[in-house]
């Protein structure tokens, strides 16, 4: 037996406090749902739910958040479930983005086998997640952060954080999904479009936990497409667009421009009214200049990428 190389370096030292560190808080490792809801009930806004921590930890490190208590929900078994339900997909609060990718990936493999066996036809077999008809989710998921953050970050955590540039809120709105909220005394479902209220502001009350989100399956005969522009793959989007096109309607959802993902019904591609309607949409989003892009550039991206994803969704539909 040879000692590992690192062993010789294991010399305990005093804890050094540097600048970029979280403020003090109590940490509770919840073991079941009731414990989480009790803490939220007692401590309200003073308590924050800690799931994967990939949005909350940067806020803590920069001291933009100063919660009194963090409730770690990752060991609550009931919240770790991804469930394929008739008509949709239910994703629990403790499901990591990488877990979801694996779930969608294995669904794709099953679909491919069925397709090869000639059993049934679902969408396009090469699309990850098509067996569950969650193509939009599968398209957008690789754009969420990096492998090193998806391994830790949760799907519902990104919804709770509600960054206007984040992909998962955009997908939830585009898919017509819902957020399942639960407090000690009540449970309710809020449609995605009513959940996101502004930059990092949601309809969640202080005593509520996002227990899960649900995404309805995409109907056969409906095409979807997703595209985004970012400085570096994995960074937050400058502009992200998702399109959902059926036989007689088209819907475009844009992230990264307004203070939340915004959806609008538009004329179908091929309709001469589309460019003008897209231009109106681009202006109505109220783009602003920032260090990443000018408002003019953002509007132009909405016009161009919006048009492209709508066309792509039509091709995907047919």
């Amino acid at each position: 037996m040879v000692a590992p190389a690192w062993e010789c370096q294991l010399v305990p030292r005093a804890v050094v406090v540097a600048t970029m560190k979280p403020p003090k808080f109590d940490y509770v490792r919840a073991e079941n749902l009731q414990e989480v809801l009790e803490i939220l009930d007692h401590e309200g806004a003073e308590a924050r739910v800690l799931a994967g921590g990939q949005s909350l930890l940067p806020m803590l490190n920069m001291r933009l958040a100063r919660p009194g208590t963090l409730v770690d929900i990752m060991r609550v078994e009931a919240l770790r479930e991804v469930r394929d339900e008739p008509g949709g997909l239910l994703i629990g609060a403790a499901v990591r983005q990488a877990d979801l990718a694996r779930h969608l990936g294995s669904a794709r493999d099953v679909a491919r086998e069925h397709l090869l066996a000639g059993e049934h036809k679902i969408g396009r077999p090469r699309d990850v997640g098509c067996a569950l008809r969650q193509t939009l989710l599968a398209m957008a998921l690789p754009w969420v952060g990096h492998a090193q953050t998806r391994s830790r970050g949760t799907v519902c955590g990104s919804i709770a954080h509600a960054d206007p540039s984040a992909e998962l809120p955009l997908v939830l709105v585009a898919s017509g999904g819902a957020v399942h909220l639960r407090s000690r005394s009540r449970a309710r479902r809020v449609p995605a479009e009513q959940f996101f209220l502004g930059m990092m502001v949601t309809a969640r009350q202080d005593d509520e936990l996002i227990e899960a989100i649900s995404l309805p399956s995409i109907d056969l005969g409906t095409g979807v497409a997703f595209r985004e522009v970012a400085r570096r793959h994995g960074d937050f989007a400058i502009v992200a667009c998702a399109a959902v096109v059926s036989a007689d309607s088209a819907r475009l959802v844009v992230g990264g421009v307004a203070d939340r993902p915004v959806a609008r019904a538009l004329p179908l591609p091929g309709d001469s009214a589309l460019p003008a309607a897209l231009d109106d949409f681009a202006w109505d989003l109220g783009a602003r200049d920032d260090m990443h892009a000018t408002a003019t550039y953002r509007r132009e991206l909405v016009r161009r990428i919006g048009y492209e994803v709508l066309q792509e969704a039509v091709r995907c539909r047919d």
Partner: protein, 173 residues
């Protein structure tokens, strides 16, 4: 339901590179600082401390994660692997480390520990990754010296050496 209070240090146990470790941490202590300052395992480097640069990447239960976006108390009972765990024996480099050396995949070395942990996980799960897969994994890291080309070459060298179907080249998408 254990509540770890803010003002006290709490006992914490996990496995580091195959060996059980014990230490004390306040709830707010980051895993990076626990590894470096409490355990003295300074192979894991600390760059931006808000999850952008990837220098602090370690493996938790096999998955590459940012140790600066992880509280030490979150990894109670977990299996942690750091760059110190790559080398099979004192003074011996792992194949990936040796490839980094052969292909000049590091210069100052600050980002290297994190990149090694990400690529180690990638090569374990996907023994013959494509260049695209390698570059996607590297997109979670910042290296200011190499321009990444030599890092990609080092990873591809390992990928090409991996056992696979005889004579089959990995597909480079």
């Amino acid at each position: 339901m254990p509540r770890l209070t803010a003002d006290r240090r709490h006992l914490l146990r996990f496995t580091l590179n195959g060996r059980p470790v014990v230490g004390e941490a306040e709830p707010r202590l980051l895993l990076t600082d626990f590894l470096r300052h409490v355990l003295g395992a300074t192979g894991t480097h600390v760059g931006c401390e808000h999850g952008v640069c990837g220098a602090c990447t370690v493996q938790i239960d096999g998955a590459p994660v940012r140790a600066c976006l992880t509280l030490a108390v979150q990894v109670e009972g977990a299996d942690i692997r750091t760059v110190e765990g790559l080398s099979p024996a004192l003074g011996v480099l792992s194949p990936l480390q040796a490839a980094f050396r052969a292909h000049h995949a590091l210069q100052c070395g600050f980002c290297t520990a994190g990149i090694l942990m990400s690529l180690d996980a990638l090569l374990r799960d996907t023994p013959r990754p494509t260049e695209l897969e390698i570059r996607e994994m590297l997109s979670g890291h910042v290296c200011r010296c190499t321009g990444y080309a030599s890092i990609v070459r080092a990873a591809l060298a390992i990928a090409n050496d991996a056992p696979g179907d005889a004579g089959e080249e990995p597909q480079h998408a």
